[in-house]
Amino acid sequence: MVELQGVTVTYNKGMPNEQKALRDISLTVNEGEFVTIIGPNGAGKTTLLKVLLGEVSPLKGTYRIDGKLMNNRPPHHLARFIGRVYQDPNTGIFPSLSIKENLLIAAKKGFRTIRFSKLKKEGLDLLEGLGLGLEKRLGVLAGELSGGQKQSLAMIMAISSCPRLLLLDEHTAALDPRSAKSIMDLTMSINGEKGITVMMITHNMEFAGLYGRRLVEFHEGSLIKSEARSTQGLRSSVDRQVSSAVL
């Protein structure tokens, strides 16, 4: 579904502070897969996400979704295929709009016109499925919700227009452990029940071990490991990394 071939990204090309953020990355992510991406700071994980979102153009290499070349497409075009949730819950929602208006915005992707859309049942069902009672508070401003509620809403918004791919960039990092766990359960159900392909960046080694069918590791801009494993296998692989990091 997503195919990267020899992608290289260099920041400040030709300048004294030139930095190779991604080096010849080749990665294929299949339909419905859950890929967990780990690596230390500066490894190139977020740059990879930016390439996928069209925010950074690769210097070399190709990027395809469903076989279609996506290099140099503007971010709002790529957004039609991709949903995203970031670390800060406020980035995925519109704080000064009500919950209902947030869902209305998320209900479709692309150009808006002068028409009055109504909230669809699917959107309400998704909200109800969270079990947070947000469906009874549709008029409340999204900015007034708690961090966990905001992130749950952001997740619902990211998938309500049925994207092909969901990109998650440390989306549980700003949450307390209980909220983080419930958001991860939601992530799993999105992947499992809706079949949406998920690529998740995380620094949380526990989550990296528990979630995802494939573990991809980056180091200094290079992809050093990509292994499809059973959950048990993943767990031990992550444990080894934690041990080596501690040592």
């Binding site: 957004a79 709009l97 808006r112 028409r115």
Partner: protein, 340 residues
């Protein structure tokens, strides 16, 4: 009093434009100073060309919208900071306005029997400056008889309520249309863009498109206000727009003080109420201020100081130290109540 309300309502359209740019799409647009004068210049020039007043103010609004479009385009396409883009367009419009008017000012062509709208000074009972400029006012601009093509002004200047009703129709129409627009899919995405610009991209909406839409609509209102203001006050001047951003901001802030967190009609009532109140305060200051040494020319200074002081007070009120102080006062007060 009627004249104050009329003038306040006309300028409230300017405040709505500033509100849309600064509060709704969150783009501090300085084009306003130029687009207000552009609207005025286009409207008066159109009357000189024999175009009907309704068409003239429509053209003024379109002119303002075009100015906003250019600012947004410079900002988004050339990645120029929106403040600088606004200043650049405002500077360009100074020359454009001179071209349109063929000089630094242009009076509205008068037909016989039509009165000039009252000035700030006459509204507030006159100032010492009236005597100073009495002679120059009489000689100002070409007479109506000298003009070949003239059409009746939209406003009579008679303070009999006719002008007020015309202005009110425009204001109510603008408020209804804008509040309806802000409810549509496009309007909602515009409000979303204002609070999270990067977020709209995630839903496939172009930020450039929304920035252009926001500044076009904002400056359309400003151009309309400029056009109406010129027809109402009977002249257009190349310096008419000076400090209009600050005037608009002061009106928006005043309105927000009155309405607080009430967001009826998406907060659009705040700039309207603020615009009228601002004019009332201004004419009061003009009427009594000169007794303590204020001049009409000091008003821009006072307006800017007002905006700075409100922003400063809000900033201080939201500082953690102030909040701790408040919490402590509240705790002591609750304790004292509990001990009784």
């Amino acid at each position: 009093m009627l004249a104050i309300i009329e003038q306040g309502l006309i300028l409230s359209l300017l405040s709505i434009g500033v509100f849309l740019a600064f509060r709704v799409v969150n783009l501090p647009d300085l084009t306003v100073d130029g687009s207000f004068a552009l609207g005025a210049a286009i409207a008066v020039k159109a009357l000189f060309e024999g175009i009907s007043p309704i068409m003239a103010i429509t053209m003024a609004a379109v002119g303002g919208a075009l100015a906003g479009f250019i600012t947004a385009l410079i900002h988004r396409r050339f990645k120029v900071n929106v403040l600088l883009a606004g200043i650049l367009v405002m500077t360009m419009l100074y020359s454009v306005n001179l071209r349109i008017m063929g000089g630094p000012n242009l009076p509205v062509p008068r037909v016989s029997g039509q009165q000039q709208a009252p000035s700030y000074e006459s509204m507030s009972g006159g100032t010492l400056l009236d005597d100073l400029f009495a002679d120059s006012k009489a000689a100002d601009g070409p007479s109506a008889a000298a003009q070949k093509k003239t059409v009746a002004n939209l406003f009579t200047g008679r303070l009999d309520g006719q002008d007020l009703s015309k202005i009110s129709i425009v204001i109510i129409g603008a408020l209804l249309l804008l509040s309806l627009f802000l409810r549509t899919d496009l309007g909602t995405s515009l409000r979303a863009f204002g609070c999270n610009p990067a977020g709209v991209t995630a839903f496939g909406i172009s930020q450039t498109f929304l920035a252009i839409t926001g500044l076009v609509i904002g400056n359309l209102m400003v151009g309309l206000s400029g056009g109406l203001f010129a027809l109402y006050s009977g002249f257009s001047d190349v310096t008419l727009g000076q400090g209009m951003v600050v005037t608009g901001l002061a009106s928006v802030i005043l309105g927000e003080i009155i309405f607080g967190k009430v967001k009826f009609l998406y907060g659009l009532l705040a700039p309207v109420a603020g615009g009228v109140l601002y004019q009332a305060l201004l004419s009061t200051a003009m009427r009594y201020g000169y007794r303590i040494g204020f001049l009409a020319s000091d008003m821009k200074l006072l307006t800017a100081l007002f905006v700075i002081s409100v922003i400063g007070v809000r900033q201080l009120a939201s500082s953690p130290r102030k909040q701790r102080f408040r919490a402590e006062v509240k705790r002591l007060w609750l304790n004292s109540r509990g001990s009784r």
